[in-house]
Symmetry: C2
Subunit: 458 residues, 2 copies
């Protein structure tokens, strides 16, 4: 098997094959980056080189792990001593921006933030956004079908990719770089590559859908007394903001207390305490008129008791402060070690789910913490649970409780983070044997030798 590295070096040159180095592993944002060993790291500079590399690996039945910015949270890009890392870092060009068609053609290794900035220069918006924007690459965003805060308005990565180019396990280049919103010419192949975590092909280029850049941005943070009113508020603001609603982020009280209590630096935006808090964001087309509408909608929600207190941002700094508070998830380090979860379930089932998880964790472990917050409009909540002991038995016991309570509610063990290695043991909670069999059939059809990111997902 040493042969394969020599063959790759000969075909691609020394610059494209780094031996003796480690491939990056998924960083653990709660405990520092973790790196995993690799047979070698491939750094092709073009689609043709990716194709050549995979053709050689295929001939040698050499497992390959495609890697983007290594910001994933489920060990979906982990390598080991017998696998090659395939980094797209040298393919980072923004090839074209078409402001009339409102599309951008990019190579897979370009970081998300550079795409956002390039769109902005053309008075356009690439709406996908997430904390790792500086390192996460478009290829990784595609491979993991990234989500984030604005899915309720703009959809996940899947909805923001119009076309893509991928290289199959045997080196075949499948170019589906179609730049149209509508294209019903047979199977929509890009859907196979979006969200399949590099197990069906290596995404090399993509055509992204851009939107008009918002002319107004309004943000409020509100207190809501109970869950029924949280969902009523969601329906209300979604209807009355008439297409402007871009985020509806819900915080359970425990989490709110954590992020507004020193040493956290966020100050509570109001004195009112409540069972739930919601950060509401609206992106619109007219600064003055939208601000007025936003305040009117909130005032009516206050009048009707859906909301018991509200802080409305009146400046960009205000908005940044409210978002920074919501995003100050790092405060959970005070309770380290913890375990983080990313689940989704039907919205009406959420409160009973959280209660059941808390009750079961309490029964099993006595005193526990469970910080809950999330993109409720998408049915997506994050749970950060202590104890998060490093002992596998404890971790598995916590997972069994958090994931186990999803099954009867039709929930998903991964809303936006993917399966990778971390959630693989729990896939059956959310996907039936028949579904898994179809996945295996598709995998077999596209990668019969099983060289692409083996052992991930399935």
């Amino acid at each position: 098997m040493g042969d394969v590295v020599s063959a790759l070096r000969e075909a691609l040159g020394d610059r494209a094959v780094l031996e003796g180095e480690t491939g990056g592993g998924a960083p653990d944002w709660l405990g520092g980056a973790r790196r995993t060993p690799a047979l070698a790291v491939l750094r092709p500079a073009s689609t043709e080189e990716v194709s050549t590399a995979l053709r050689i690996c295929h001939a040698h039945r050499q497992p390959v792990v495609p890697q983007g910015g290594l910001t994933g949270l489920v060990h979906g890009a982990d390598t080991n001593e017998r696998t090659l890392a395939l980094s797209l870092e040298r393919m980072h060009a923004i090839e074209a921006v078409d402001p009339v068609n409102r599309t951008m053609t990019v190579q897979a290794g370009v970081p998300l933030q550079r795409v956002q900035e390039a769109a902005d220069e053309h008075d356009l918006l690439f709406p996908l956004d997430l904390g790792a924007r500086g390192s996460a690459t478009i290829g990784g965003n595609i491979a993991t079908n990234a989500g984030g805060n604005r899915v309720i308005r703009y959809g996940m990565m899947r909805e923001n990719v119009l076309g893509l180019e991928a290289v199959l396990a045997d080196g075949t280049v499948v170019s589906s770089l179609h730049p149209m919103l509508k294209n019903n010419t047979g199977y929509d192949l890009k859907q196979l590559f979006v969200g399949s975590e590099g197990t069906l092909g290596v995404v090399t280029r993509a055509v992204l859908r851009l939107r008009q850049k918002p002319r107004s941005e309004n943000v409020a943070f509100v207190a809501v007394p109970d869950f029924d009113r949280v969902t009523a508020l969601l329906a209300r603001v979604d209807a009355e903001l008439g297409g402007m609603l871009s985020a509806f982020e819900v915080l359970w009280d425990d989490f709110y207390r954590l992020i507004t209590t020193p040493p956290a630096e966020n100050r509570p935006p109001f004195a009112t305490r409540s069972a739930f808090y919601v950060l509401i964001e609206a992106l619109g087309g007219d600064e003055a008129a939208d601000a007025e509408r936003f305040q009117t909608v909130l005032a009516r929600a206050l009048e009707d008791g859906l909301v018991v207190d509200a802080a409305v941002a009146t400046s960009a700094a205000d908005r940044a402060r409210l978002w920074a508070m919501r995003d100050d998830v790092g405060q959970v380090r005070r309770h380290a070690p913890v375990q983080t979860f990313d689940v989704s379930l039907p919205i009406p089932a959420v409160p009973a789910y959280v209660e059941e998880v808390n009750a079961r964790l309490g029964e099993r472990f006595g005193e526990v913490v469970n910080f809950v917050f999330g993109h409720l409009g998408d049915g997506n909540i994050h749970l950060i649970v202590g104890p998060g002991d490093r002992e596998p038995e404890t971790r598995q016991a916590v997972e069994a409780i958090v994931y186990g309570a999803l099954a009867p509610r039709g929930g998903s063990v991964s809303a936006e983070h993917g399966i990778g290695l971390e959630k693989k043991p729990w896939l059956a909670v959310s996907r039936s044997e028949a579904e898994q069999a179809v996945m295996r059939a598709v995998k077999q059809a596209l990668d019969p030798e099983g060289i692409l990111n083996p052992g991930k997902i399935l």
Copy 2:
């Protein structure tokens, strides 16, 4: 092979197997319905019966053509003497509406219009809409990834299906009835069935995404002097309406003249003549404020010369009149026989494309008509071309011109209608050999005996 019908009758009962009748063929909306013969028509009443039927067909290697409301335009549901029609017409229940999760669970045979009405009863909206809403079924909408007028705001059918249940060729039921917006647990299998025209599985049930029902509806019809201003107007209204824009329908002057000249009953909304006309629709959240915004945005567009005349609807009757005018495509019958096309291409390439098609048609046929209109925000235009002689040679010559001019521009021979039989000879214009090979591999993986809608698409 006669055996298979007896076996089906024994397993499903007489009511579910109609022999000696014809399966419905795709209706030709310009020339009356067309029906095609079938070995028999299966009418299963449940997912289990669909499964039983397919299991028997699979064992007999009996080809099956899944059928919805038979409103498709590309002969995607045509049968012949050797194929069975599989109608979902008895599976027409709306099983559940969840107004908090904003989802609806339905059987595949329910007509689109009933879904729209059921959503409306809960103050919600199912946004997909098309002319055939009364007959077209949800299963057919899924199988063809239906589009329509509001894709620019709400996406195609693909974006409005959260989960689905399908029966594979061998009778395996794959239930992926997930009701969440976010669910990254392995391959998103529903994507395989959406838009694959019944060749990979038979969709039996679906979970649909609902939206809040708009509180305001504003419509205008405007005259625009040239194409550059059409695209500038699109960017302008999309930005300034701040999320409300729900339709941007462009009409070329020839088409506008046709639908506003007797015997057409539509009266021109203004006296101004122009190269292009646009119907703009905005759905919002506040009746008074949105009407004011809509008028302000249009007034600015007039001031800046993007628009040279505008008629703004001031009542529901007005709005209906403007839409009826846009939808009065039947006027092309005055030039029958004609050929209709549904293509998409990058928006900046549209005007040169239409000019080239017109020039080539003129060279080849002398006097021609080419009525052009479409969902320009999606890059999707419809062309209705005369001559549309019934002679295959003439039809093919016209197709060669219309589709041929797409290839160098990266266009699609089917924006929303699908491939079926009609566009199969032209698939290679839009999809490479590598793409077709992947499609065949997926087909082989899911339907190795090739019994599901054989001969369609590929």
